[in-house]
């Protein structure tokens, strides 16, 4: 029994996984030696066990966080990019199916055709010569301005401004934008190809597995799979495991011959995989019972 007992706020933070690594250690050491604080922790856990199920509905209806919104928007963008061209075309055409928009579009087409007809002047008479003519009809014509009558000077002036032929590269398509799709949970898992060099030996396969599991777990989130209290527990466990991975990576980097650290790093990665697998397993079970 120690005299300096822990504050209930610290105990709650400890249970919620909000403390840092050193604080967790300090609190767990203290609890191990202090019966009163152990009792407080037990009471707090009991209260959590009562409160979380009671408030599960409210927690499930929580307002999406900024991170969730960002993930939703990312997913929408990825789906948009992945849609085949005929779906995009049909989506665009579906807007035209509205009668008013269709009528407006038809009107614009008619006006446009009329304008083109008017601007292009009288159409040449159809003849075989024109059809056979080479496509170099746009060859520069050099006109001497002085020889033109005054009435046509203004009209011909733009043509005569340049005496050298000019060429432009015609482009009928907008330049294709090259985009790279970021992984859904890029904050926690880095793409394996980009940082392979930074991985420790044997680490890359763990990271790839975790990335694929993250994708499947985050991609199919069913509110029936995890209750609010479970989501809190999952987030806390994930934070604990991530913290362990970071510490063990540092330890292995510091001493690459430390077999114990390597083993602990492997088991921390395995814990993370098991944690994600547990969610996937539950998703599968819930789906099979529908």
């Amino acid at each position: 029994m120690t005299t300096n007992c822990l504050d209930i706020g610290i105990i709650q933070s400890f249970l919620d996984g909000e403390l840092s690594g050193s604080e967790i250690t300090r609190v767990s050491d203290h609890i191990a030696d202090c019966d009163a604080c152990a009792m407080l922790v037990s009471h707090a856990e009991d209260e959590n066990a009562i409160v979380f199920p009671a408030l599960a509905r409210e927690f499930n209806a929580m307002v999406p966080t900024q991170r969730l919104w960002a993930r939703i928007e990312d997913s929408i963008q990825i789906e948009k990019n992945a849609a085949p061209w005929w779906q995009k075309l049909s989506g665009a055409l579906s807007h035209l199916l509205h009668p008013q928009i269709g009528a407006l579009a038809a009107l614009l087409i008619v006006v446009g055709l009329f304008a083109i007809y008017k601007l292009s002047g009288p159409a040449p008479a159809p003849s075989n010569e024109v059809a056979r003519a080479p496509r170099t009809t746009a060859a520069p014509t050099i006109v001497n301005v002085d020889t033109l009558p005054p009435s046509t000077k203004n009209v011909a002036a733009p043509v005569a401004r340049s005496t050298q032929p000019t060429y432009e590269n015609a482009s009928y398509r907008a330049p294709r934008r090259v985009t790279t799709e970021a992984p859904l949970n890029s904050s926690s898992v880095q793409p394996a190809t980009a940082t392979d060099a930074a991985y420790l030996p044997g680490e890359a396969s763990y990271v790839k597995t975790i990335a694929s599991l993250n994708k499947s777990v985050n991609g199919d989130q069913d509110p029936n799979v995890m209750s609010a209290s479970q989501q809190v527990s999952f987030a806390r466990d994930m934070a604990v495991v991530d913290n362990t991975i970071t510490r063990m990576r540092d330890a292995v980097k510091k001493n690459p011959k430390d077999e114990t650290a390597k083993q602990m790093l492997s088991s921390a990665y395995q814990n993370k995989i098991d944690l994600l697998n547990s969610v996937a397993q539950k998703q599968e079970l819930v789906a099979s019972l529908r």
Partner: protein
């Protein structure tokens, strides 16, 4: 003659006026008789039987080593072994059900049966039954393959059990040849179970008492993400226990040649062993500490502040049992029984 012509002209004029009126009538807004409409039958929702208080009971003669596949979506489930070669299912407050014989033995008795819902909901799973209370009696030599959604399950006195539930507590006791239990959210309690044992819960505690192998090579595995694991008198020689946020408690003997691996990421490990225990110990910890009431002789150690610490030691006189303990943030303690 003129009179006849006049009458004929008047008749033609009257007919023309009548015809004109009949043609203009709809245009003036006189309602036309509506076309006959086909009667539309709207689908009616099936009656909600969730509060049906009726009880249903069925029994079927089976082989003594029958395998039963059971799916229960709601309710409290109690499965008991009895000394009759018969399966009885009793459902209170749930829809009707039926037995489905999947396979029969050479003597014609069912060796594999399951239950099906006789009143399935539209689009629902008709392989699962439900009720406020579901009681099942099986022969003692039977094996049970249970799937559940939100149920509290108690299983007692069978040969083998495999249980997998989305949520709810699982309590298993008196099993002869193996237990495999998984619950997504809830505790798992096992008592007097023998054989290969594999227990897993995502959020919940695992408690095992008086259990061991039924055959050489049977292993014990327990895993929870958020919860404690408590093992008392578990006599398997191969033990693998792991929790992320929770403590591990072990009280019992270490068998010669056994391998006992217990790890937690954020919790303590407390081991209570007989005073004369001899084993090889490998303890790894980061922020916590290591204490032992049993005498131990350090073979190698790596103790540095703010770093990963490891101890390899012989506990007592040493021995060929290996005890591997690992805690990233917590105390590792060995106590004398």
């Amino acid at each position: 003659m003129t009179n006849i012509v006049q009458k004929f002209m008047l008749a033609v004029l009257a007919a023309a006026i009548a015809g004109g009126l009949s043609l203009t009538a709809p245009a003036q807004g006189t309602p036309a008789p509506p076309p006959p409409k086909a009667k539309i039958k709207f689908p009616t929702a099936p009656p909600d039987r969730s509060y049906d208080r009726s009880t249903n009971e069925k029994a079927i003669a089976v082989a003594p080593n029958v395998n039963m596949t059971l799916c229960v979506t709601e309710g409290d489930l109690r499965v008991n072994g009895w000394s009759r070669n018969e399966v009885r299912v009793y459902v209170e407050g749930g829809p009707k059900f039926a037995f489905k014989v999947v396979d029969k033995g050479p003597d014609g008795r069912p060796v594999w049966i399951s239950t099906v819902n006789a009143e399935p909901r539209p689009g629902g799973n008709n392989e699962c039954i439900r009720g406020e209370t579901v009681e099942v009696d099986l022969p003692r030599g039977a094996s049970l393959n249970l799937t559940g959604k939100a149920i509290d399950a108690e299983v007692d006195g069978l040969r083998k059990v495999t249980a997998k539930t989305v949520g709810g507590d699982i309590s298993i006791r008196n099993i002869k040849e193996g237990v495999s239990a998984y619950t997504g959210e809830g505790g798992v309690t096992v008592e007097e179970a023998w054989g290969q044992i594999s227990l897993e819960t995502t959020t919940g505690n695992i408690v095992v008492v008086d259990s061991g192998p039924s055959d050489i090579g049977d292993t014990f595995r327990a895993k929870t993400n958020s919860g404690a694991i408590s093992l008392t008198h578990v006599t398997h020689r191969a033990l693998d226990v792991n929790t992320i946020s929770g403590s591990v408690l072990f009280s019992g003997e270490l068998k010669s040649g056994g391998t006992y691996a217990m790890s937690t990421t954020n919790g303590s490990i407390a081991i209570a062993l007989p005073a004369m225990t001899g084993c090889k110990l490998a303890a790894t910890f980061t922020a916590g500490s290591f204490k032992s009431e049993l005498p131990f002789k350090i073979l190698t150690d790596n103790i540095a502040p703010d770093d990963l610490k490891s101890i390899v030691a012989n506990v007592g006189p040493g021995g060929d049992a290996v005890l591997r303990l690992s805690s990233m943030a917590g105390l590792i303690g060995i106590k004398k029984q």
